[in-house]
Symmetry: C2
Subunit: 414 residues, 2 copies
């Protein structure tokens, strides 16, 4: 029998006290969480070794095993992340809007925590500490459903964090780990409407799709990025080359990595002979349309599927387009609403592109890789929302809050 | 075969131009919509008479027939509502947040329309013009799924509005009416993820529950209100009487009407003998617990169900509680997160109540009836959200928008 409904009910009770904790109390808990992670480093590494051993037994790829592995340095980085959270401003209690109405009623719209946040994520166990910290700082209780491959690591981390929270006189049930040995816990979490206020899936497209379709708990969709770089006819070639290469190759497996390059026909003769050899040198396979293939025999003919693929690898779909509006059409058909970039010196072109692209972020003469809570100066990020409801783009602490109207009168009636 | 997917696709195309329309263009359309409604008054009344005749044939209640009936005065009120929208500020293009990052990147977070909004509503045909106007002003295309009983009225209104929009050189498909003769259109709307950006159900609890549970399109939940008035031991009796009576009786059938009254035991001896006769005089049936019943023999014994009932009628559940925290517990168990009021002269009590009640609005010494976009000074309201994601409380024009980050660089790379 699953314990998710009970854990969610416990989280709700904890969330009421946590919502009313002061910033000082929460920061004290975060600093204690950081200190305890470092003190218990040996235990956490030992727990992690169990997961790594199992992963090797299950023949997981070396890349996945690397992501799973916790070293003393990585544990220190987790602790430092918690200390950085303590240094950030507390969004709870911010007055978002306020006025005195004509009848004398005093209206304030105040930021409050959601209450209980559910997180479903894959892979790296450091997400466990990050998510727990961000939720605690924003006054939310969190239910963590991590990866089955990180079972032992996550249990060790959460045990340390819960003890620290309790020692800081906040409710330990503000941080709870859900059973990761069964898909049932994800299903029950998705059905815990009324107990869980918001569900944030972080991971591959199939996980996110399943949660979005099945959850009755409100969802914030994150992370799938089929990002485009469009090189306009009025582009500066040097900037175009630098930004396109950086967008594709600075890191291959992130959601803000470019997966498609669109080149205006008027500039293709000058730009494609510049970038195709650089892409080849960087080990990137180009999947191009017929016009692109004419420039370089190493180009792989693109299929219809390529335009919709988030490769997360050293592959790039490249097409020649006849106009800015053709580029916009292409992006409308194939984009995922994450990040779209234009390289152009034309004010008219960049203004039209920024106005008509429907995405969380539009980059003008800048790399798609900048769509990131850290780069945007938010100090903490729990994911990048690609939906339009509630939060869009990198989500920091304020995005983990709701609001409440507090209206003060003196016996006012209508 | 239903036309919803095609209508949604048409709405998406229209939404791109509408999102980029200027405030002047949208206001011109709104004023033309208002003028045309008045010019075509006779046609609209004639269409409405068909619905009213059918309603009488189907033996609908007189109250429902009154809600359905359009008079010249009601049509002028619809037109005036559109003119008021034209006078309101345009939220689209507002810079919500902006900064220049350390590397020189210029970051702006700008308000943009959602795109396509789906509205499912019951009853009064004036909602059709209101919703169309609010969506147009906020730059959104709208798919309207009204009540089957208002079929002919809604068709006439939407036809007039579409022609006005087209004459104002905006896309007529920004306003479309869905087939209200079948539940299939609601089902298809709920499954139009990717074409419809947000779905707003307005109506009874069962409609809202169905949409929330079945929709894959993100939903903003509205309107169910089991609102409480808590009379604290430190209440001013005169204010308590005025606010409690107003919260219950000023209008019986709205979501911000009080349905439960909680009275602190210390003040019950003085307050209940005051309010129980007044409630009786106002024709309100009191469903009370044993302690309340001791004060007046006309009190109907409350069942467990009463505490959870949104009566929307001349009924009130009344309980005596032993403390502020007992009141908070009661509200936590039975509230719907809409509006909760406390009557008290104690700063400590009102502060604790406001901090610990989990609701869209908390009233301190003021009637629950004030939770309303008009009362809050928003100028327009498309509903009252009782969820925590995106919008909470009365939703005006800004609540019908999302945001987009526009980041401008000069060849910036990471």
């Amino acid at each position: 029998m699953s314990t998710v409904p009970q854990q969610a009910a416990d989280a709700r009770v904890a969330s009421i006290d946590l919502a009313n904790a002061t910033r000082a109390e929460k920061d004290r808990a975060l600093l204690l969480m950081a200190a305890r992670l470092e003190e218990r480093e040996a235990d956490i590494v030992a727990a992690n070794e169990v997961d790594v051993r199992n992963a090797r037994g299950a023949s997981l790829s070396e890349a996945m095993i690397d992501r799973l592995t916790l070293t003393p340095a990585r544990i220190r980085a987790m602790a430092d992340g918690l200390r950085e959270l303590a240094a950030l401003a507390d969004p709870v209690g911010d007055v978002v809007r306020g006025s005195t109405l004509a009848n004398g009623l005093e209206l304030r719209q105040v930021r409050v925590p959601f209450g209980v946040v559910g997180m479903v994520y894959e892979g790296r166990p450091n997400v466990t500490a990050d998510a727990a910290g961000i939720c605690l700082k924003s006054g939310n209780a969190v239910l963590l459903r991590g990866s089955g491959s990180a079972l032992s690591s996550n249990a060790a981390i959460v045990s340390v964090l819960r003890q620290a929270v309790a020692d800081a006189d906040l409710p330990a049930n503000a941080i709870q780990l859900l059973d990761a040995t069964t898909r049932d816990s994800v299903k029950e979490l998705m059905r815990a409407r009324g107990l869980v206020d918001v569900l944030i899936p972080r991971g591959g497209a199939s996980l996110i799709k399943a949660v979005v379709e099945e959850s009755t708990v409100p969802v914030i969709e994150t992370g799938v990025g089929n990002c485009h770089v469009y090189v306009d006819e009025a582009a500066d070639l040097e900037k175009a080359l630098a930004v396109a290469m950086n967008s594709k190759t600075q890191r291959l497996s992130t959601c803000n990595t470019a997966e498609s390059l669109l080149v205006h026909a008027e500039i293709a003769d000058r730009f494609l002979p510049l970038i195709l050899p650089e892409l080849a040198d960087a080990g990137v396979t180009v999947h191009g349309d017929a016009r692109v293939a004419a420039y370089d025999e190493s180009v792989v003919p693109a299929t219809d599927e390529d335009w919709d693929t988030e490769y997360l690898s050293a592959d790039l779909a490249v097409a020649v387009v006849d106009s800015l509006d053709d580029a916009l059409d292409h992006i409308r058909r194939h984009g995922t609403g994450h990040t779209e970039a234009i390289i152009s010196e034309s004010v008219t072109a960049t203004r039209r592109f920024a106005a008509r692209v429907d995405a969380a972020a539009v980059m003008i003469n800048a790399s798609t890789r900048f769509t990131d809570g850290g780069e945007f100066g938010f100090g903490a990020e729990i994911g990048i929302s690609t939906q339009k409801l509630h939060a869009r783009g990198p989500m920091g602490l304020p995005e983990l809050t709701s609001t409440k109207y507090i209206v003060t009168g003196n016996g006012h009636t209508r």
